[in-house]
């Protein structure tokens, strides 16, 4: 979701961005995730013409999606802090 914070992106573009991070192993599973986010109202989509090929569906965060992302960021930060703490103790 953080990947579409600044600007709307289309699915294939997202997959390429995720692929670079090594987070996405099976690309196909992104589509069920995106449609779930849309169903939950966290992202909205819009079809746009592309210059080279068929129209693309662009994904964009909704206000609710932004809130969810901020909530997740906070949760993740505290989770990471907790895990880091445990790992430090093990040293």
């Amino acid at each position: 979701m953080a990947l579409i914070v600044k600007t709307p992106r289309y699915a294939f573009d997202l997959i390429e961005a995720l692929g670079k991070t090594g987070l996405l192993t099976t690309e196909g599973t992104l589509y069920p995730l995106l449609s779930r986010l849309r169903r939950d109202g966290l992202v909205k989509t819009e079809w746009r013409e592309s210059t080279d090929g068929p129209p693309r569906r662009y994904y964009e965060l909704t206000a609710e999606g932004r809130r969810a992302l901020i909530a997740f960021k906070n949760e993740w930060t505290s989770f990471r802090g907790a895990v880091d703490g445990i790992l430090q103790e093990g040293k």
Partner: protein, 209 residues
């Protein structure tokens, strides 16, 4: 340039995806297949030289259709298809098919636990269950006796009866035994067959959890 087997490979993949997603709600399945189709188109447009290997790599990166659908099921909150659990309906159907054919066959066709082929077998072997074969045997017996010619004289005394024969030959005995087996054992074999086919069951359409 188009890869020599591009259409074949892609259509095959999409068909497998569609089949794997058969238990998803129709709209969700359609959306998934459409998304993946667009994805493949995008990916192909990026290949400078498209080969079969390039197509296979695109499909590999997408993941196995079963894995993609499993993920979609989870996201949609759809239960994985469970094997249908046979209940009273199926037990009654198995018992009634040989002994009370019409009701048994109706139950057999109502139940989702059997494949279409098994239902046809259960209906036609033997037709009518015990009731049906009994009627058939009766008809056969009466048609045979009507073949007898009994000649009587004016006083009513029998002078010739073609039905009178020497004792039954071993061949006729064997035939009668075989007929008996067919009449009395075949319905039971059919019921047993249905019971066995039942255990494997058929996955029920997944319901929204």
């Amino acid at each position: 340039m188009t890869a020599p087997h591009a259409a074949q490979l892609i259509d095959g993949y999409l068909a497998r995806l569609n089949a794997a997603a058969s238990d998803l709600p129709k709209a969700a399945r359609q959306e998934l297949v459409d998304d993946v189709r667009v994805h493949i188109t995008e990916a192909r447009a990026r290949e400078t030289e498209e080969t079969d290997a390039a197509i296979l790599n695109i499909l590999d990166r997408l993941g196995e259709p079963a894995a993609v659908v499993a993920d979609a099921r989870e996201r949609l909150g759809v239960r994985a298809p469970q094997p249908y659990r046979p209940g009273v309906l199926e037990v009654l159907a198995v018992i009634l098919v040989p002994f009370f054919w019409p009701i048994g066959v109706i139950l057999l066709w109502i139940s989702p636990a059997w494949h279409w082929r098994d239902k046809v077998i259960g209906t036609l072997v033997p037709p009518g269950g015990y009731l049906g074969v009994s009627i058939l045997a009766l008809v056969a017996a009466s048609s045979r006796s009507s073949g007898c010619i009994t000649m009587t004289n004016a006083a009513g005394a029998v002078i010739e009866d073609t039905c009178q024969q020497a004792g039954p030959s071993w061949l006729q005995v064997l035939g009668a035994v075989m007929l008996g087996i067919v009449i009395y054992v075949l319905p039971l074999i059919t019921a047993g067959y249905l019971a066995i086919r039942l255990r494997w069951g058929r996955p029920r359409q997944a319901a929204l959890a």
